[in-house]
């Protein structure tokens, strides 16, 4: 099995660890070895938070720059900040409401590296469904609309259902579904 590297980023409090947990569990359930790296401590107090996830037979927990085919950003600027991690031909998923995404200055770079960038108003989707802190689930739903196994819609949905606490399960799944439909609309 080839190694799959991914980087997830955003701001402290946006639920990056939960998003990582979902993807790691999906991969484990599908037979991948999982290795990841998380941010804890002072940086969690509103700073930039990054989480790395590596699937396959690897020893180290960090993704090297240029090596991640997937970058998921819960905040637009954090997405730009982590661009050096994206591999040629990679895919960038960003939570933003900005109609100007991606910024003019990065368009040339994305084209040159054949990177596909997609944006979704994940924060707004979550807010409209009454859970402003759950933009992570909306972004995951959106992401699943474009990705193949192991990160397809069915797999992700099943795992979110499995690991959500009882009282949040229905809400979590409805936000995830809304993100997915936004992607399918695209």
């Amino acid at each position: 099995m080839n190694t799959i590297n991914m980087v997830l980023c955003g701001l402290g409090g946006q639920g990056i660890l939960f998003m990582t947990k979902v993807l790691a569990q999906v991969a484990l359930d599908k037979g991948y070895n999982v290795m990841g790296a998380e941010t804890h401590g002072m940086a969690q107090r509103g700073g930039s938070v990054v989480s790395h996830l590596r699937l396959g037979n690897v020893q180290g927990s960090l993704v090297r720059t240029n090596e991640a085919p997937l970058l998921l950003a819960l905040e637009e600027n954090e997405g730009y900040r982590n661009l050096p991690y994206l591999a040629r031909g990679g895919r960038l998923y960003v939570n933003t409401t900005s109609p100007l995404f991606p910024r003019e200055e990065v368009k040339g770079f994305l084209a040159k590296k054949e990177i596909i960038s997609r944006s979704v108003p994940a924060g707004k989707i979550a807010l409209d469904l009454g859970a402003p802190m759950s933009s992570n689930l909306a972004l995951l739903g959106f992401f699943s609309a474009f990705e193949d196994k192991p990160f397809d819609y069915e797999n992700l949905r099943q795992t979110i259902g499995k690991i959500s606490p009882d009282r949040f399960r229905d809400k979590n799944l409805s936000i995830f579904d809304a993100g997915y439909h936004e992607g399918k609309k695209g």
């Binding site: 190694t3 701001l11 402290g12 990582t20 947990k21 790691a24 569990q25 484990l28 070895n33 999982v34 290795m35 990841g36 790296a37 998380e38 941010t39 804890h40 401590g41 002072m42 940086a43 969690q44 107090r45 509103g46 700073g47 930039s48 690897v58 020893q59 180290g60 927990s61 960090l62 993704v63 090297r64 720059t65 240029n66 090596e67 600027n77 730009y80 900040r81 661009l83 050096p84 994206l86 040629r88 910024r103 200055e105 990065v106 770079f109 807010l127 402003p132």
Partner: protein, 620 residues
């Protein structure tokens, strides 16, 4: 039946401890070690074990407690961050001489970067200084196995053993399968032997000799410990360059060589850097013209290698002397070294263009800040307003972020807010200068290292205001309980220790307890305290600013929610943003005015007391 879970590195360490039959685990929280004890507790509960756990008041206390358990024959461990081992150093140095009976493993987690620490110090050097073996895991799975090895070694050779996981082991996640755990039935038995357990200097010399012998034996053992120490040399072959790596750096090197299929570069993996596996290392060195040493964080292996002419590393300028060795840093330094030696470089893209592009975007700098609703912010605002000319000594915890509000001038080590305040006092008093000083310290840090400094300050006649920021938790490291709460590490009931009584017991006569959310009252009390310290009979004034942490206690911390907004009265003076720095108050670019981010706002209502124009008002 085997169970498989994605464990945090610290969870894998906890699992390793319990698999090794560890009966006592003590700890003081500190990033990146904080999750080990909670993970031990989780497993003890789910597997019905009887391991004793405690959050100790500091790392020295933790180590002393674990040491006593060890010399009753039980297996014990204590966990801390690397700078915590400084606090426990007194205990460690002596315990190395006295030796152990049951296994004693000290887990000291390093923080190269540093991400959440005062220094990037390398625990392996501390092990060398204390003359105890140290194991350096490269990932969670190896850390789990090494804990068992450390326990066995400690028991066999009767010496404490240190496990040094770096942050990328502690906070890595990996899938790990494990069998059900069982209770270790070993009972305590203490054999009195004053010449060992209470050794005087005469006996200490003998014990030092014993320790040296143990190290020699362990060193030999490490030469053949091929699960953790091995090389990839082919017999009889000579190489222009070999790599020597240990710990997390080994994991990065191994992935890199595999990915680039570089079988031309042999690797010596050193999982046990001290005592150094010298035989194995000299075998490797003699087959290589040059060796590149890549280790986190300092130069231990580099120092221990014999033939200096062959060694490339930090001392020769090939490896950075500071900062974490993340994969791209290793990739670059490795590639540079290959080019310098005219060997085949790595193939691959350079990230320089992307890095330059990111720089040119001038993205907002995200510095960590106190949370919306944080009671420390309210206390800091009042302190700055009432004592603008004071020297502000502070301490280690969330409230170090008071620096953003201009109310933290110093931060040295745990407890230094108080000791530096007395130091400043005497330095200025000597010149006849009446320098106002306000020290701030958190409740957990006060319990950890506050009392010795406070009673020293009282005894030696220092005068300053000490504000104990009591948020009823150890917030920065993940909400561990403090001794004042009446809760033990495992959630069971404990005797609650009164902060007020401790402060009074240190000889402080002026103690005021208040809620910092009431800024007016806090300012008044700070004024009264200032007057007290100037009185002839005055001394140190202690204000305990008590309000629960908004993260730990959530809605309980803000019983009276107040929705706020900014009115037309706002003069856009930025006073609230500069002095109060609440993440929920921001300048809305589109509206061109100061606004409240309702998603971030905690509705604490403290900002209603902040605006000089009264432009922040409650929404009816």
């Amino acid at each position: 039946m085997k169970r498989e879970e994605i464990l945090l590195g610290n969870g894998a360490i906890a699992l390793g401890l319990l698999e090794a039959g560890c009966q006592v685990v003590t700890s003081y929280p500190g990033t990146p070690s904080s999750e080990i004890l909670p993970e031990v507790i989780r497993l003890v509960k789910s597997e019905n074990l009887n391991t004793y756990v405690e959050w100790s008041t500091n790392e020295k206390v933790a180590l002393d407690n674990a040491f006593a358990a060890s010399i009753t024959g039980k297996r014990a461990a204590c966990c801390m961050k690397q700078v915590g081992l400084n606090v426990a150093a007194d205990s460690l140095m002596s315990a190395a001489y006295l030796g152990t009976v049951g296994g004693l493993v000290i887990i000291s987690c390093d923080d190269p970067g540093p991400h959440s620490s005062q220094t990037e110090q390398d625990t392996r050097f501390m092990a060398r200084l204390a003359k105890v073996p140290v194991l350096d895991p490269s990932n969670p799975e190896e850390a789990r196995k090494m804990v068992g090895l450390a326990m066995d070694l400690s028991e066999e050779f009767r010496v404490p053993v240190i496990l040094r996981p770096a942050i990328r082991v502690c906070h890595a996640r990996q899938n790990i399968a494990y069998d059900p755990l069982s209770v270790n039935p070993k009972k305590s038995a203490f054999e009195k032997d004053p010449s060992r357990w209470a050794a005087t200097p005469r006996f200490r010399l003998i014990l030092h000799g014993e320790l040296n012998k143990k190290l020699k034996e362990i060193g030999k053992r490490f030469d053949t410990l091929d699960q953790y120490n091995f090389h990839t040399l082919e017999p009889g072959k000579n190489y222009p360059l070999g790599i020597i790596a240990g710990g997390v750096s080994y994991a990065v090197i191994r992935d890199l060589l595999e990915e680039h299929k570089r079988t031309d570069l042999p690797v010596l993996k050193v999982g046990t850097p001290y005592p150094f596996p010298e035989g194995l290392a000299s075998e490797f060195m003699s087959a290589c013209d040059k060796v590149l040493v890549i280790e986190e964080t300092d130069t231990l292996i580099e120092y221990l290698l014999g033939d200096r002419n062959k060694v490339l590393g930090r001392l020769s300028g090939h490896v950075p002397l500071e900062g974490e060795l993340i994969p791209q840093v290793i990739y670059r330094l490795f590639d540079r070294t290959l080019r310098e030696l005219e060997l085949q470089p790595f193939e691959g893209e350079n990230e320089a263009e992307a890095v330059e592009l990111v720089k040119s975007l001038q993205l907002p700098v995200r510095k960590p800040t106190l949370c919306p609703g944080c009671p420390h912010r309210a206390a800091f605002f009042a302190i700055r307003k009432s004592k603008p000319k004071a020297i502000f000594t502070s301490d280690i915890g969330c409230y170090t972020l008071g620096m953003n509000l201009g109310v933290v001038d110093t931060c040295l080590d745990m407890g230094a807010s108080i000791t530096m305040a007395s130091g400043f006092y005497h330095a200025f008093a000597q010149d006849g200068v009446d320098q106002p000083i306000v020290a701030t310290i958190g409740d957990s840090t006060f319990f950890h290292s506050g009392t010795a400094g406070l009673l020293n300050a009282v005894y030696n006649g220092a005068r300053f205001i000490l504000v104990i920021l009591d948020n009823l938790t150890t917030a920065m490291t993940g909400m561990q309980p403090t001794p004042s709460l009446g809760i033990k590490a495992d959630g069971s009931e404990a005797k609650a220790i009164s902060l007020e009584r401790i402060v009074a017991g240190c000889g402080v006569d002026y103690i005021e307890v208040l809620d910092p959310y009431d800024i007016k009252k806090t300012i008044e009390e700070l004024k009264k305290a200032s007057e007290y310290i100037k009185e002839p009979e005055g001394g140190i004034a202690v204000i305990i600013a008590r309000h629960p942490c908004v993260i730990a206690y959530r809605s309980e911390a803000i019983p009276e929610k107040k929705k706020v907004t900014v009115t037309e009265e706002c003069a856009e003076c930025n006073f609230c943003m500069d002095r109060f720095e609440c993440p929920a108050i921001y300048h809305d670019q589109e509206l061109g005015r100061t606004s409240i981010n309702s998603q971030l706002c905690s509705s604490c209502g403290v900002c209603l007391q902040v605006c000089p124009k009264g432009a922040i008002v409650e929404v009816a």
